[in-house]
């Protein structure tokens, strides 16, 4: 019975067989970290602090992610190990998880300010929640637990850093009275650590996938027309 249940989980794991899912999330984390860095370290009147720049930047990033991952899947993955179309109800689960995690960020900050908690505590918890979302990926390959460990150790280490040092990453700029510089810096560092870990892990998966798989010869890739009729 357990074997049947594990078979049911295999298609979900196949989604990241080439590391593309990790590369996508890593790219997203680092992409938003880059624009945040530029916004924090340039004058308020600079082009990086304009809303239209942010919208163009986000649209460009989404386009790269969409067309880049599609190109890898259609040109490499589907040709080597096959095509899978997932059930659409699963997408809503992913959207729901993303919405919950996104909601955790402002809720964490709000609670921290309202209850006079140390502001780095909820940020650390958000970082740990992101790491928890990675567990299903880590379970597929043993070495990915190293990526998970980095994603756990990162927020814990950031929360232990001196507030002044963390605030320096945000150029000591408070976004509002409720969002001090150290909170901005801690979020920025968390995204950089997670993004870097995911990019390295996804890149290694992609490299191993290319090394260990190859497209089948054309005459053997599909059954003859008399088969499967």
């Amino acid at each position: 019975m357990d074997q049947v249940e594990s078979l049911l989980k295999r298609p979900r794991a196949y989604d990241n067989i080439d590391g593309v899912a990790e590369l996508v999330f890593g790219f997203m984390c680092l992409g938003f970290s880059l624009i945040a860095w530029l916004q924090l370290h340039t004058p308020e009147s600079s082009v990086w602090n304009q809303m239209y720049t942010f919208l163009i930047y986000t649209a460009a990033m989404i386009s790269i992610i969409h067309y880049g991952s599609k190109a890898i899947k259609t040109r490499i993955t589907y040709r080597r190990t096959g095509f899978v179309e997932y059930r659409h109800d699963k997408y809503w689960v992913a959207v729901g998880i993303a919405a919950v995690v996104s909601a955790l960020v402002p809720v964490g900050l709000y609670l921290a300010v309202r209850r006079h908690w140390e502001v780095l505590t909820p940020i650390c918890l958000v970082g740990l929640a992101l790491a928890a979302l990675y567990i299903p990926v880590a379970r597929t390959v043993r070495w990915k637990w190293a990526t998970f460990s980095v994603m756990v150790a990162g927020p814990l280490a950031i929360s232990a850093l001196p507030a002044d040092l963390v605030g320096a990453f945000a150029n000591h700029m408070d976004l509002t009275s409720a969002i001090p510089a150290k909170a901005v810096g801690a979020y920025w560092l968390t995204f950089v650590v997670d993004g870097t870990a995911l990019m390295i892990s996804g890149g290694r998966s992609f490299w191993l996938y290319l090394r260990h798989t190859q497209a089948p010869a054309k005459e053997t890739s599909e059954p003859a027309s008399s088969d499967v009729q």
């Binding site: 096959g82 089948p216 088969d227 009729q229």
Partner: protein, 98 residues
């Protein structure tokens, strides 16, 4: 007859065969996939996989669609509604029997 043994006897024979069970379980978790994906996941050779798929198609559990991806032929496979129901029933009975 012992109830547990009776439940084993009631298991769907078409699905219970290990090769076909793998195919149906993999297809149950997705909307559809191609022949190459099933070959990669089950590690069966082309002939064996083709034979199992033909048997499942005869039973009305799998739908096979021959198409092209660009100029490359592609065999798309998906479970039919009857196939999904049969697999759900099979899982339920297997849980009961164990």
């Amino acid at each position: 007859m012992n109830r547990q043994v009776q439940t084993f006897n009631e298991l769907n024979r078409v699905i219970h065969e290990p090769g076909r069970l793998m195919i149906v379980a993999l297809l149950f978790a997705v909307d559809r996939s191609d022949f190459l994906y099933l070959q990669h996941e089950t590690e069966m050779n082309k002939g064996t996989l083709s034979g199992h798929l033909s048997r499942l198609e005869e039973a009305g559990y799998v739908e096979i669609l021959k198409t092209y991806r660009g100029k490359v032929p592609q065999t798309l496979l998906c479970l039919t509604v009857a196939g999904r129901k049969a697999f759900e029933e099979y899982r339920r009975k297997l849980k009961e029997a164990l």
